[in-house]
């Protein structure tokens, strides 16, 4: 029963906030709801109850429990950040109100995606989350953000359309058989024959667009660049993981039957997006766009990891979780830096470590984690993916990936390190950052280091179980 | 054995001055002059010992210690070489490595003293000396390494007492002689590498490094150089001496005669040709390296080579 609350609670509070005009308490309600969802997810984690809800449409299994806890945790962090932002700059009151309502609707949709047991139902929830977050990208008075928001909606619409097309094609594969199961996760139609393969291919192409993978990815840098930092964090950490959950369900369900095509297409799209994002990383001079391309890079590596499967699944999960925390930290810090320096051009920003000690340290540590330095989870995740690549005999892809990751390492480091350690140009004084505004990022950091060095046994058991489902039998 | 060692020590004391005197006398004869008495270098050394040295105010204790380090290392190296064709005062495995690196230490000390005076000329001499040394060292190691391969030994005097048995060892022997002569000329600043009697500092190599030394220090340097000359000449003589290894009186006398012969040849060469241009000296030293490589390759030859 408590699982259903995870969806109902945000919806109810969203409606309440929309109706009431109570301004000052809005953000407090938002953060409270976020905290409640995190606690509920934690409870689910501690005492797993395997009941099916809403006539089998929603069901909690290991994967959804893990992702629920992570996603809601990050949402709570972002909500606390927004609350602090509104608290410190009162003129954001109106925008805060709009943000609270829409982000709670977004949370409800994402929680549904994570708990969905019916693929089409999951599709609907994902589409709903897109609709909830699209207007948030618009920043009042900035034309480019409206353009970015429209493109985000357009690409999502086309991407999810392709996914729907894929479902229809896979459905047609059973032209004759009266297949009662429909789209429940337990007994999905197997995609064999020309229709099945076409369907699976279209499905992956559509999900790739939603995740920001290769062919249709150009919406991601624009949306992450133009959206306010809190919304970028929601997009990068929460929406990405929701779309990824759908891909995980597809992989879990159809790895045995459609394995060859699955591996081939995921590897191709992953490799293509790593290539494209590395090229753009080298060329870009805009800080938020750099982080956007870095997240495309990481999405590519995740796709490659999922593609191989054999032995890489644990690494992929480790990589996904640490990636979520890294993006949360970096996008929020990038927002703070942009607000402080009034510019996104990386060549203008210098001496962060002394100008904004907290943000400087967070940017440094976040970049370390982004680039895969040891103490963080991404280091081991990357190693496991690379070892599985070598293990499954794809040494050419391995070599190419090593070169590309090093090139993106050089490009990112070359742009961000001078920002951290440069000679500060104009001494701009900024309100001392209180511990409150920094605590969410601190929490993400602790989680990140824990993922790297010492994963507590309970979480480790869960990770192993989820990795098991992703592996080829 | 002690008699040979004593003879060696006696030779060590006498030979340096005799050989330098012979070379000067031969050059004088070629120039149509009687030339100074044979032991003139000894008298010069004694004269300098009685003088009190004058040191530059720029110099540090390194300047004062360098000449004596040169003398010590040259004397040390002389103890290891077969001056009379037979076993030297001390003989052990890889002794020529100690010899080569001892000479290196002496050379470094001298170069540091030259740089210490802070004069442009001495710096120039040190630079040239260092450059030529980098070409001489590998030649020495190639030659003695090749000879060591032929006689399956690692001590200097057994390597030099090479028995010519076939085409390969003959070729090795000939190229070793050529290489050692060139090394001798480069190390002891004889023509055509460097002219000891020139007055124009810009053309000097070794002499310009010792410009600022005076009194006993200058004597130490000259004796040190004479000792290095003796070591080089004795090495060439032992190599030329067919009955080198027997340790009989005849072989000792033959080595002495051959040493004087080598001194005469050096004096003649100095009288007949002018000093090479500085740019061509490295090519001349390259001849020594080529000869060393030839000796080394001879070791792999089928006939008379190593089994």
């Amino acid at each position: 029963m408590s699982a259903l609350l995870l969806v109902l609670l945000p919806v109810v509070s969203a409606l309440a906030l929309a109706a009431a005009r109570a301004r000052p308490v809005t953000m407090a309600v938002l953060s409270a709801t976020g905290l409640a969802c995190t606690v509920l997810a934690g409870v689910q984690l501690a005492v797993p109850s395997d009941d099916a809800l809403l006539a089998g449409l929603l069901r909690l299994d290991d994967t959804s429990r893990l992702f629920l806890f992570v996603v809601d945790g990050i949402f709570f962090g972002v909500a606390a950040y927004a609350w602090n932002r509104v608290h410190s700059t009162p003129e954001l009151e109106a925008e805060g109100q709009r943000f609270a309502v829409l982000s709670l609707a977004f949370l409800a949709a994402c929680n549904t995606v994570l708990m969905a047991n019916h693929l089409l139902g999951q599709w609907i929830a994902l589409e709903a989350s897109t609709l909830a977050v699209a207007p948030l990208i618009v920043r009042p008075g900035v034309a480019a953000s409206r353009q970015a928001s429209w493109r985000y909606l357009l690409f999502s619409f086309v991407g999810l359309g392709l996914v729907l097309l894929g479902f229809v094609c896979i459905g047609r594969a059973h032209e004759g058989g009266a297949d009662a199961g429909g789209w429940y996760l337990g007994h999905l139609p197997t995609p064999e024959g020309p229709w099945g393969t076409l369907g699976l291919a279209l499905l992956l192409l559509g999900l790739g667009t939603k995740l920001g993978l290769a062919p249709m990815y150009s919406w991601l840098p624009e949306a992450y660049d133009e959206a306010p930092p809190a919304v970028t964090a929601l997009l990068g950490a929460v929406q990405f993981n929701a779309a990824l959950m759908m891909l995980l369900r597809v992989v879990q369900a159809w790895r045995p039957s459609g394995g060859a095509l699955l591996t081939g297409q995921l590897l191709a799209m992953g490799a293509a997006s790593v290539v494209v994002s590395t090229a753009s990383l080298i060329a870009t001079r805009n800080m938020k766009r750099l982080l956007a391309y870095a997240s495309i890079n990481h999405a590519g590596v995740i796709a490659i990891g999922l593609g191989i499967g054999k032995g890489a699944s644990y690494g992929v999960l480790l990589y996904v979780l640490s990636n979520a925390y890294i993006k949360a930290i970096l996008f929020l810090t990038a927002g703070k830096i942009k607000a402080h320096y009034r510019t996104k051009d990386t060549t203008q920003i210098h001496g962060l470590i002394r100008d904004l000690p907290y943000s400087g340290v967070f940017l440094m540590v976040g970049t370390f984690a982004l680039l895969g330095f040891p103490p963080f989870g991404s280091f081991f995740g990357e190693l496991l993916i690379l070892s599985a690549l070598v293990g499954s005999g794809k040494t050419l892809v391995f070599a190419a990936l090593c070169v590309l990751v090093t090139m993106s390492f050089v490009a990112t480091g070359r742009t961000i390190f001078p920002m951290i350690w440069g000679e500060p140009k104009q001494p701009v004084t900024w309100a001392r950052q209180t511990l409150g505004s920094v605590s969410p990022k601190l929490f993400f950091l602790v989680a990140l280091v824990a993922l790297g060095l010492y994963v507590p046994p309970a979480v480790e058991g869960l990770l192993k179980a989820v990795a098991g489902t992703l592996e080829a039998p | 054995m002690n008699a040979e060692r004593l003879a060696n020590v006696a030779a060590l004391l006498v030979m340096p001055f005799v050989l330098t005197g012979v070379i000067i006398r031969v050059k004088a004869l070629w120039a149509g002059r009687r030339g100074p008495p044979l032991l003139q270098p000894a008298w010069d050394a004694l004269r300098l010992l009685r003088k009190t040295p004058v040191y530059s105010d720029v110099s540090t204790p390194v300047f004062r210690a360098a000449p004596w380090v040169l003398l010590l290392t040259s004397a040390g190296s002389a103890l290891v070489t077969p001056l009379l064709g037979t076993t030297p005062v001390f003989s052990f495995g890889f002794d020529f490595v100690v010899l080569a690196y001892a000479w290196g230490l002496g050379r470094v000390a001298l170069m540091l003293a030259a740089l210490d005076t802070g004069s442009a000329f001495e710096g120039m001499g040190a630079a040239r000396e260092a450059t030529f040394a980098t070409l001489v060292e590998p030649a020495l190691f190639l030659v003695v390494g090749a000879l060591g391969l032929f006689s399956h030994t690692s001590s200097l005097h057994e390597a030099l007492a090479l028995k010519v048995t076939g085409g390969a060892s003959a070729l090795a022997w000939a190229s070793a002689v050529v290489a050692l002569v060139v090394v001798l000329q480069a190390e002891t600043a004889r023509l055509p590498v460097d002219d000891p009697t020139t007055h124009l500092e810009l053309t000097m190599v070794h002499e310009v490094m010792v410009l600022d030394h005076s009194g006993p220090d200058l004597a130490a340097i000259q004796v040190g150089n004479a000792l290095k000359l003796t070591v080089g000449t004795a090495a060439v003589a032992t190599l030329l001496n067919p009955l080198a290894g027997e340790g009989t009186l005849a072989s000792a006398l033959l080595t002495l005669a051959l040493s004087l012969g080598v001194a005469v040849v050096l004096g003649t060469v100095e009288s007949l040709i002018a000093r090479f241009k500085l740019r061509t000296v490295p090519q001349y030293l390259a001849v020594a390296i080529a000869a060393g490589v030839l000796a080394l390759l001879a070791a792999t030859w089928r006939t008379g080579g190593l089994r």
Binding site: W219, P374 | V54, V58, T60, V98, L115, G148
Partner: protein, 653 residues
């Protein structure tokens, strides 16, 4: 084993505390104290091992992805730990005075001392761990700690670039190492070195690829010839004690890795021995040529690290060859010579870098063209630098000569089975002799131009000599150099501990006893001669240096570093391209002064930057073409769709 394990938390706590403490002095004391305790613990655990006790084993479970953390401390790891930790301790002591100018300007040193403790932690991990993942963790921690140490003075852009250059190089090295480990992991299915050893024992093409990958990654960590480009920049940018630790101690982990996997591999193939010998000789030759021609004293010492690492690799190559020809004497001479040279290099390289640090502290420059005559103002630093210079040129009485004598005894012994192999070994010995001669030239130049003569830039203000806390580390290292030279048995006690895990047994130094007695005699002679001449000359008359009658001598007339090496550099111009920047006076009576400067650039680095620059420019141009318009993305999607359809046609037809 518990003693050894206790060192780990002590260091971590020390590092953590030092990082958080506000006052620099407290942070220094905490870091130094924790390192001292850890060193004592490690030495206590390591001493019996060097004496021949059985290796210590321990392993315990750890959550994935590491699965098991297994430690095994054998003779080899013990040897490296025995001197790495004390030298890092001395480095931290040196750092306190060296960084005072920064502390006076309000800079916080807490992080710096914490990173120094963290470097010791990485030694403890790398030299004892048997699990590939944790080894990589230790490897990368050392790299990141060294990087953050190098960019301590991060305000200067050149220093940040040098640090970043170093970070990228080590990261590339890490990827190559990961490739090798993962190849072995996929072949054996486990992450333990013991299983890797089982796989490496059988010769196979994968083994050769893995060996080459390991060789490249360790070569990059130890800055061998083609991969050395990060070393000189990092050393001229880093504070002196960091350069000393990096080039004396930290980059020895590469050679340790090579020895560790040689042991795991067991019987090597002959081509491996020749590759390492040739690779080492190449690295020594290039390193020494660059050492001879550099203007910056610390860059010069950086290049000489490449040279000495090359010489150590020649020893290892000889050891591998001896192993394949099962000639134990040759193999022991090779490995013994290599390991002893590695230890000697750590001693005299740290000494030289500390002396260079003292020079920088006094004159705020390490450019040879402006220095000169420092011996009068910095007598202690000058004499210690002289000891280091004589040792690094492998001249007789000191420790460099002993290890090179060992190598010569292997190369010139003529015990190879075929004559042509003997000839190649003698040729290698000749190469080593050439390297020794050029190293003598470069060290004479470095010492002579910096400390002797008179100061080339008259208005250069020369401060006072190094105080106690900088003097003591230098003196201790110099003492180590002299003792290892005169009484090599002491150093061999350590090296024998390292050679114990190797299959071949036997005495290493005994056949060279007479030669060592000769060098001891020479040492006694030198002491007598130097003291006698020093006493005699003190009261002697002083006058002006003989200038051939030139009436207006000026310090600028002296031979500078570049002119000293100009003829030599012209001989080897192909290897060290000379760059000239000149602004010659044009008119008959020139009004303003002309200027002339020569630099010797590193050809490998110039080529690398040229290639990288081209690549980046091409990528930026092509990335610029792809516009953000949705049209491009959708057309790409349409193309992808058509490809899928085509692929399907292929499948159904």
């Amino acid at each position: 084993m518990t003693l050894f394990l206790a060192a780990f938390p002590v260091l971590l706590v020390g590092a953590g505390a030092a990082a958080l403490l506000q006052s620099n002095r407290a942070a220094f004391v905490v870091s130094l104290g924790s390192q001292a305790v850890a060193t004592a613990l490690v030495l206590a655990a390591v001493a019996p091992l060097l004496a021949g006790a059985a290796p210590l084993e321990l392993s315990w479970h750890w959550p994935p992805p590491i699965e098991r953390v297994s430690l095994q401390l054998d003779g080899l790891g013990a040897f490296f730990l025995a001197w790495s930790l004390p030298m890092t301790l001395l480095g931290t002591l040196y750092a306190w005075t060296y960084l005072q100018p920064f502390f006076d300007k309000g800079r916080r040193g807490g992080w710096h001392f914490a990173l120094l403790a963290l470097t010791s932690v990485s030694f403890v991990i790398v030299y004892s761990v048997q699990n590939a993942m944790v080894f990589l963790l230790g490897w990368e921690t050392a790299a990141v700690a060294a990087w953050l140490l190098v960019i301590y003075d991060y305000r200067n852009q050149k220093i940040r670039f040098a640090g970043f250059n170093y970070l990228v190089s080590t990261h590339v090295g890490l990827f190559v190492l990961v490739a090798a480990f993962m190849l072995m992991h996929s072949a054996t299915g486990s992450m333990e070195f013991r299983d890797f050893g089982a796989f490496l024992a059988k010769p196979s093409p994968t083994r050769s690829t893995v060996w080459m990958l390991l060789g490249v990654s360790f070569a990059l960590k130890s800055a061998f010839f083609p991969f050395h480009t990060w070393l000189p920049r990092a050393h001229s940018a880093a504070p002196a004690h960091v350069s000393a630790l990096m080039s004396g101690v930290i980059h020895k982990a590469g050679l340790f890795g090579f020895l560790r996997f040689t042991l795991l591999m067991g019987q090597p193939e002959e081509w491996m021995g020749w590759t390492v010998l040739v690779f080492g000789a190449l690295s020594a030759l290039f390193g020494v040529l660059s050492t001879a021609t550099q203007r910056d004293l610390k860059r010069l010492l950086g290049y000489s690290s490449t040279e000495n690492v090359g010489i150590a690799a020649m020893g290892f190559g000889l050891g591998l060859l001896g192993w394949t020809w099962n000639a134990p004497a040759l193999s022991l001479a090779g490995f013994g010579g290599g390991v002893l040279h590695l230890f000697n290099h750590a001693l005299f390289k740290c000494l030289l870098f500390y002396a260079a640090g003292a020079v920088y502290r006094a004159t705020h420059t390490v450019d040879l063209e402006r220095l000169g005559g420092l011996a009068k103002r910095l007598p202690r630093t000058a004499s210690l630098f002289l000891v280091g210079a004589v040792a690094i040129s492998a001249l007789p009485p000191l420790n460099g000569f002993v290890s090179e004598l060992l190598l010569y005894s292997g190369l010139l012994s003529g015990t190879a089975p075929r004559p042509d192999q003997n000839v190649l070994l003698v040729a290698a010995a000749a190469g080593l002799a050439f390297v020794g001669a050029v190293s003598a030239l470069s060290m004479t130049r470095a010492f002579g131009v910096t400390f002797l003569g008179s100061t080339r830039e008259p208005q250069l203000h020369v401060g006072d000599d190094a105080p106690g806390t900088m003097g003591w580390p230098m003196a201790l290292h110099a003492l180590g150099v002299v003792v290892a030279g005169v009484a090599p048995a002491a150093a061999m006690a350590l090296v024998n501990g390292a050679l114990r895990p190797f299959p071949m047994a036997g005495a290493v130094l005994e056949p060279l006893a007479p030669a060592l007695w000769a060098s001891r005699a020479l040492a006694v002679g030198l002491v007598v001669v130097i003291t006698w001449s020093w006493l005699k000359g003190r009261s002697a008359r002083r006058s002006v240096t003989w200038g051939c009658g030139y009436t207006a001598p000026s310090p600028r007339l002296q031979y500078t570093g570049s002119s000293f090496v100009e003829q030599f550099a012209r001989l080897f111009g192909a290897f060290i391209p000379a760059l000239r920047r000149e602004q010659l006076p044009t008119e008959l009576l020139p009004q303003q002064p002309g200027s002339f400067a020569t630099h010797h650039a590193d050809p490998v680095e110039r080529r690398m930057f040229e290639v990288l620059g081209q690549g980046e420019e091409y990528v930026t141009r092509s990335a610029g073409k792809v516009s953000e318009e949705p049209r491009f993305a959708f057309s790409a999607g349409l193309v992808a769709l058509l490809l899928i359809a085509l692929f399907l046609f292929g499948a159904t037809r």
